[in-house]
């Protein structure tokens, strides 16, 4: 099966420094791809390249075979949905209004009843229905993150009528969430990839290595703008590799058959020079 979204030798530089130097990454339907790496490794830049927000200065990114800059914005909105890291609003929008923005480009022609139902179902999936009429600006960081997840679900669902080969991109989606909602969000993302009809391709940036190990079908390790390793979790979860990338000594244990990553002491020096 050919990939839905592909980066080939893609690179992006600013201020004379390559944030992503060269990246080869293919996103397939039904696969949950997790990107891990230390701060400044280029994770968000990679996601922004794949989403079409940034245009690579080297190599290319293609969606269903088409190079990204040539795909119109509204059509990209049907093929890939992004939940970005920050999502502050300048105005006192209600929660349900923010979620309804997901329908903006792709669902305009839907009757109002269907649009309302879409928004409602998305709010319920993100456990935000009870706060549907709250001013978004007054929510906590975690609640805001859940609203944005609901918005992403809403766009995904509305766009499914146009394009069934969809990619969902999540940039640190659980950074502010409590434990219960961390699992709920990741479960929901995984369920999308396991959907029998038109399974979604998910690309998620995570900091929690245990969650990454728990949910990833395909694990990508980014270091200094380069993909240090990628593959199935079992191949990538290597103590030496992770110690080298994160500069922290790790033990990988097994608990009920699942890998558990236990950070030990700081490894000094990181790179003996």
């Amino acid at each position: 099966m050919s990939a839905w979204l592909t980066a080939e030798n893609a690179g992006y530089a600013t201020g004379g420094r390559w944030l992503v130097e060269r990246a080869d990454l293919a996103l397939h339907g039904g696969t949950l791809t997790v990107v891990i790496g230390p701060n400044g490794a280029g994770k968000s830049t990679l996601l922004r390249l794949m989403s079409g927000e940034l245009t690579p200065q080297r190599g290319r990114v293609t969606s269903l075979g088409e190079p990204l800059p040539q795909v119109p914005a509204w059509h990209m909105a049907a093929r890939r949905v992004v939940m970005a890291q920050s999502g502050r609003l300048g105005f006192p929008f209600r929660v349900h209004e923010v979620v309804a923005l997901g329908i903006l480009a792709v669902g305009r022609r839907l009757p109002r009843i269907e649009r309302d139902d879409l928004v409602e179902a998305s709010l319920r999936s993100a456990d935000m229905l009870a706060l549907a009429d709250r001013d978004f600006q007054t929510l906590s960081g975690g609640e805001q993150q859940r609203v944005h997840f609901a918005r992403a679900l809403c766009q995904l669902e509305a766009a499914r009528r146009i394009e069934t080969r969809q990619v969902l991109m999540l940039d640190e989606p659980i950074a502010s969430l409590d434990l219960e909602h961390q699992f709920a969000l990741m479960d929901a993302a995984r369920a999308l990839t396991r959907r029998p009809d038109s399974p979604v391709a998910v690309l998620a940036i995570l900091h929690d290595l245990n969650l990454a190990a728990c949910y990833a079908d395909h694990l990508v390790v980014l270091k200094s703008g380069r993909i240090a390793a990628q593959g199935p979790v079992s191949e990538i979860l290597d103590e030496a590799l992770l110690a080298d990338v994160f500069g922290v000594r790790l033990d990988i244990a097994r608990h009920y058959g699942l890998p558990v990553i236990l950070p030990q002491a700081r490894l000094l020096p990181v790179n003996p020079a």
Binding site: E53, A77, R80, V81, P92, A132
Partner: protein, 370 residues
């Protein structure tokens, strides 16, 4: 998958929370539209009645009826005042108020900040400077050819000035898709001061009549309203008032940020360009016929957000209504407080608007600038 315990809201016909909220908002909007419409109609009549010359209500209504009926106009002093002074002035105040409030709402959406106002961020000053340049130099250059400068030059000049200052401001305040509010306000103040200084310099180059015109521009007034002025700006203003609501969804999406708006499928550059153009046309046309009138674009959208929420689908049309109400009301007050003389309306809106702006700043201290 609807929960059984959710109460079915009465009247909506369906059980959904979101559908219920939508219906409630629609009802609220209808209520405010009715109230606002009634208020505007009342002010419209009041504006025809009240002024330096008292017009008896009976003859006024008869004249108005004749004018609307068969277009006839009795040859009396009252009828002339009504038809040639009060009516164009009333219509102009409503149009300018609507245009300024809509442009304020658009600029705020564009800059993603509720503190943007064409007066505060130097757009009006830029338009006034360009209008001043047109007055002082335009006449020298064009008078030999046309006898007198064609009036249409003024709105055109003011529009170019408004567009220029908006573009400069946006260029300065926006880096890599992020608009810095602090930079925008400071650059706006600097641009406004520069435009003011250049306008002041123009005063030295102008003759007496031009100087009076320039002063009129700086303070803002509807005292020079005429059918000619109305005809010069009404088409553009009505066009932008009709066009503005089409940008509502785009401005809603831009509230999330430019990258997010692109992710949602918005052609960001096109929407931004359209919003800048509309705001510049509105401010330029307003400044050309009424001078600089500040704070309308700040106060009206802000109050409306409190009443109706932030969604631009309601905000833009209601801004037009609210702006018309506010400026027509202010013009009536300006005509009455020192009658038979009148106050420049810009003084009045600043006297209301500046304290309101300060109150906004104080209220926002809990949630400081980004």
């Amino acid at each position: 998958m609807r929960k059984a315990c959710e109460p079915a809201p009465s009247g909506s016909g369906r059980g959904g929370v979101v559908a219920f909220l939508g219906t409630a908002r629609h009802r609220r909007a209808m209520l405010w539209a009715t109230l606002g419409g009634a208020l505007l109609a009342g002010l419209f009549l009041l504006s025809l009645f009240k002024g330096a010359v008292a017009l008896p209500a009976g003859s006024l209504l008869k004249t108005l009826g004749g004018l609307l009926g068969d277009g006839s106009l009795p040859d009396t002093r009252e009828a002339l005042i009504l038809a040639n002074i009060r009516l164009p002035r009333t219509l102009l105040a409503m149009l300018v108020g609507a245009a300024l409030a809509v442009s304020g709402a658009m600029l705020q959406g564009l800059f993603r900040n509720p503190l943007a106002d064409p007066g505060l961020i130097g757009v009006s000053a830029g338009a006034a400077l360009a209008a001043g340049i047109t007055i002082v130099f335009g006449e020298k250059l064009l008078a030999p050819a046309f006898g007198r400068m064609p009036f249409a030059m003024l709105p055109l000049g003011a529009f170019v000035g408004g567009l220029g200052s908006t573009l400069i401001l946006y260029g300065i305040a926006t880096r890599a898709g992020r608009t810095s509010i602090a930079t925008m306000m400071l650059a706006g103040v600097a641009l406004g001061a520069l435009s003011g200084a250049l306008s002041g310099f123009l005063a030295y180059l102008s003759d007496d009549r031009q100087l009076r015109d320039l002063t009129f521009w700086a303070l803002g007034s509807f005292s020079g309203a005429s059918w000619t002025k109305l005809a010069a700006v009404a088409p553009a203003m009505i066009a932008i008032l009709v066009a503005a609501p089409f940008l509502a969804r785009g401005l809603d999406a831009l509230a999330l940020g430019e990258a997010e708006a692109y992710h949602l499928g918005l052609p960001v550059q096109r929407v931004k360009a359209a919003a800048i153009l509309i705001a510049a046309v509105a401010v330029g046309a307003s400044v050309a016929v009424a001078g600089m009138i500040g704070f309308v674009g700040l106060v009206v959208p802000h109050v409306l957000r409190l009443l109706l929420g932030a969604s631009h689908r309601l905000l833009l049309p209601f801004s037009a209504l609210g702006g018309a109400v506010l400026l027509l009301g202010a013009d009536i007050v300006a005509r009455l407080v020192v009658a038979p003389a009148e106050l420049p309306i810009g003084i009045l809106t600043a006297a209301i608007g500046a304290p309101f702006f300060l109150w906004l700043l104080l209220r926002r201290q809990a949630r400081p600038f980004e």
